[in-house]
C-alpha cells in the first residue's frame, strides 16, 4: 500500500479497513484485510487470502449478471488489499429508516431484483445487509462487500443468502422488516419467477426450522 498517495481511513470494519485514496487521478477505496491477532497466523492467512482473491472475482461476475458493483483496479494478495472504484452515495441502511413508505418499497423491490440476478447467475453474496448496499444520486443500487460470497447454484446457499437478508432487516429495521422483506421477495420473484422463488422460500423456512430455538421447528 506504500505506493498509493495519502490514503485516509474511511471506515474501520470488523474484517477490513477501508481507505479513501487517490490512485492515478481516480478516487478509490482501498480495502485492506488486516491480520487478526486473535486467530493463529496460518488460519488467519488462509482466510484473508481466500477472501481477497474471491471477492474481486465475484464482483466482476456480479456485473456480468447485471448487478452494479464497484470496478476493481488492483488486487494484492500478499498484502491482502484490493483497490476499487469509490461509489458516491448513501448506504441503504441509513436511507431505509427515514425514507417514506413508497420509497422504501421501491428500494426493497430493487434490492430483491438484484439478489435474484445474482442467484440466477449462480452467485451468492454471503453478507446481505443494508450496510452493504449503496444508492447513488442517480438512483442505482450498488452491492459491495462480497468477501463472504461464493459461487454456488444450490437452493440451500440461495436460501441462506435470503435468510441473512431477512435477519439483517429484523435486527436493523425491525419497525418495518416484514413489509421490507415482502418487497425484497417481490423483486426477487420478478427476476426468478414464482416457481423458483417458492422453492427458495420453502428452503428459507427449512433453514429457520433447523435453528435451535425456533417456534416453527419440527420435532
Amino acid at each position: 500500500m506504500d505506493t498509493i498517495a495519502e490514503p485516509t481511513l474511511f471506515k474501520k470494519g470488523a474484517e477490513a479497513s477501508l481507505y479513501l485514496a487517490d490512485w492515478h487521478g481516480k478516487r478509490v477505496i482501498i480495502k485492506n484485510r488486516i491480520p487478526k491477532k486473535y486467530r493463529p497466523t496460518a488460519l488467519d492467512e488462509r482466510i484473508r487470502s481466500y477472501r481477497t482473491v474471491h471477492e474481486p472475482q465475484l464482483m466482476h461476475e456480479a456485473k456480468v449478471a447485471g448487478v452494479f458493483t464497484p470496478l476493481i483496479y488492483m488486487v494484492n494478495v500478499a498484502e491482502s488489499f484490493i483497490v476499487m472504484e469509490y461509489i458516491e452515495g448513501q448506504q441503504i441502511k441509513q436511507l431505509l429508516n427515514k425514507a417514506p413508505q413508497e420509497k422504501r418499497h421501491e428500494f426493497c423491490i430493487e434490492i430483491g431484483a438484484s439478489i435474484g440476478k445474482l442467484h440466477n447467475y449462480g452467485l451468492i453474496h454471503g453478507d446481505l445487509t443494508t450496510s452493504n448496499m449503496i444508492r447513488t444520486p442517480e438512483g442505482k443500487i450498488f452491492f459491495v462487500d462480497f468477501g463472504l460470497g461464493e459461487k454456488n447454484i444450490e437452493l440451500e446457499a440461495q436460501g441462506v443468502d435470503l435468510h441473512l437478508m431477512k435477519r439483517a432487516l429484523q435486527s436493523t429495521h425491525y419497525q418495518f422488516w416484514e413489509e421490507c422483506f415482502k418487497n425484497v421477495l417481490c423483486g426477487y420473484t420478478s427476476v426468478r419467477g414464482l416457481e423458483t422463488t417458492e422453492k427458495v422460500y420453502e428452503k428459507i423456512r427449512e433453514i429457520e426450522r433447523r435453528g435451535r430455538y425456533v417456534e416453527e421447528r419440527k420435532q
Binding site: 487478526k36 486473535y38 453478507d127
Partner: protein, 342 residues
C-alpha cells in the same frame, strides 16, 4: 401496585432453573443481593443428556436443592415474595419439572409467579455481576450460541449458529474422542486441557455466513479425523478450538463494529474457556471496549439468574398467571420485551 412502590419495597425472589441438565434454586433480594445459589447436575451414565432421565433427576433433587437454598439464605418459605422460573427455551421434560415445582410453590404460598426467558436471564445476571450496562453479549453453552445486544426494547440477535451450539460441538467431539464425563469436570474443560498441548494446526472447515456461523461441518470433519487416527488428539483439540472460537469471535467483532457498543460480555458454560476469553479480549481492545467474563457460578445455568430477572420483570408489573405458565421450548430471546431497560 404502582411501579414506584414496587421499586421501594424489599422482598425475596426464589428462582428455579431447570432448562437442561442442572436443577438450580437461587434467592435474590429485590435490590439485587444474591443470598443463595444452589444446584445439582444430572450426569448421564453415557452419551449426552437424556431428557427423560434429566427430568427424573430434577424431580428427585428438587426438594433437597430448594431446602439448601432456603437454609443458606436463612429464610423460611413464607418469607418469599415471588417465585420465578425458567419458562424456556430448553428441553421440554426438564423445563416442565421446574415449572411444576414453581407453580405448586406459588399457589401454596399465594404469591406471584413470574416466567423468565432463560437467555435473557443469562444476560441480566451477567450485567449484575460484572456491572456492565449495555454490552454486546456472546452467550455460548451446550444449547446456545448467540451474539445479542439491546436495541429498542429487546435484546436483538446479531449473530447465531445456524445449526449446533458451540458447547454441543465440543461435547460431541469429546465423546467421539473417548473422553469421559467426570463429576466437576465438564468435557469442554477436558478438551481445553488437551488443546494447550496441541502444536500443529490441522486445517478444518471455517464457516461464517454473514452474521451467522455453522459448526456442524467442523464437528463432522474433526470427528472423521479423530477416528482416522493420523493426528494427535492434542492437535485436534487445539485445531477444533482455534477454528470454532475464531468463528464466534469474528461474529462477535462484527456485532461490536456494527452496534459500536463499548462493552463485551461473555457468558454461558463455554465462557470458562481461557483461550476463548483471550480471543475476545483482543477484539474488545481493538474496538475500545471493555471485556467482561461472567464468573463461572453465574455463567452456567443457575437459579440466581432466574430470580434476579424475575425481580426485574415483576417490578415492571410482569407476572405470569398459572394458566399462562406453560413452558416455551423455543422461546427466542428476541421475542421478549425487556421494559426494565431504558
Amino acid at each position: 401496585m404502582l411501579k414506584k412502590e414496587l421499586n421501594k419495597k424489599e422482598g425475596y425472589c426464589l428462582g428455579i432453573e431447570s432448562s437442561a441438565d442442572d436443577f438450580g434454586a437461587g434467592i435474590t433480594t429485590f435490590k439485587g443481593q444474591i443470598l443463595a445459589n444452589k444446584s445439582d447436575s444430572y450426569i448421564p451414565a453415557e452419551g449426552g443428556i437424556h431428557p427423560r432421565e434429566a427430568a427424573r433427576h430434577h424431580a428427585e433433587v428438587a426438594d433437597k436443592v430448594l431446602s439448601q437454598a432456603l437454609s443458606s439464605a436463612g429464610l423460611k418459605p413464607k418469607d418469599l415474595s415471588i417465585i420465578a422460573f425458567s419458562q424456556g427455551p430448553g428441553l421440554g421434560p426438564s423445563l416442565r419439572t421446574g415449572a411444576t415445582v414453581a407453580r405448586a410453590l406459588a399457589s401454596y404460598l399465594c404469591i406471584p409467579l413470574v416466567g423468565v426467558n432463560h437467555s435473557v436471564a443469562h444476560i441480566e445476571i451477567g450485567k449484575l455481576k460484572t456491572s456492565v450496562v449495555d454490552p454486546v453479549t456472546l452467550y455460548v453453552s451446550g444449547g446456545n450460541t448467540m451474539v445479542t445486544a439491546f436495541e429498542s426494547g429487546r435484546y436483538r440477535v446479531f449473530g447465531e449458529t445456524l445449526d449446533i451450539a458451540l458447547g454441543n460441538c465440543l461435547d460431541v467431539f469429546a465423546r467421539e474422542a473417548g473422553l469421559k464425563h467426570q463429576k466437576g469436570i465438564p468435557l469442554g474443560a477436558a478438551i481445553e486441557k488437551l488443546a494447550v498441548k496441541g502444536k500443529n494446526l490441522v486445517s478444518l472447515p471455517y464457516v461464517v455466513k454473514g452474521m451467522d456461523l455453522s459448526l456442524s461441518g467442523l464437528l463432522t470433519a474433526a470427528t472423521v479425523l479423530v477416528h482416522r487416527g493420523n493426528c494427535s488428539l492434542e492437535d485436534l483439540c487445539y485445531s477444533l478450538q482455534e477454528h470454532a472460537f475464531s468463528m464466534v469471535t469474528e461474529v462477535t467483532e462484527r456485532a461490536l463494529a456494527h452496534t459500536e457498543k463499548k462493552e463485551v460480555l461473555l457468558t454461558g458454560g463455554v465462557a470458562a474457556n481461557k483461550r476463548l476469553q483471550a480471543m475476545l479480549e483482543v477484539i474488545a481492545e481493538e474496538h475500545d471496549a471493555s471485556f467482561n467474563v461472567v464468573p463461572l457460578e453465574f455463567a452456567t445455568d443457575n437459579g440466581a439468574m432466574i430470580a434476579w430477572t424475575g425481580i426485574l420483570a415483576y417490578r415492571h408489573g410482569l407476572v405470569t398467571p398459572i394458566e399462562e405458565s406453560y413452558v416455551k421450548l423455543r422461546w427466542r430471546v428476541d421475542k421478549v420485551d425487556v421494559p426494565w431497560i431504558q
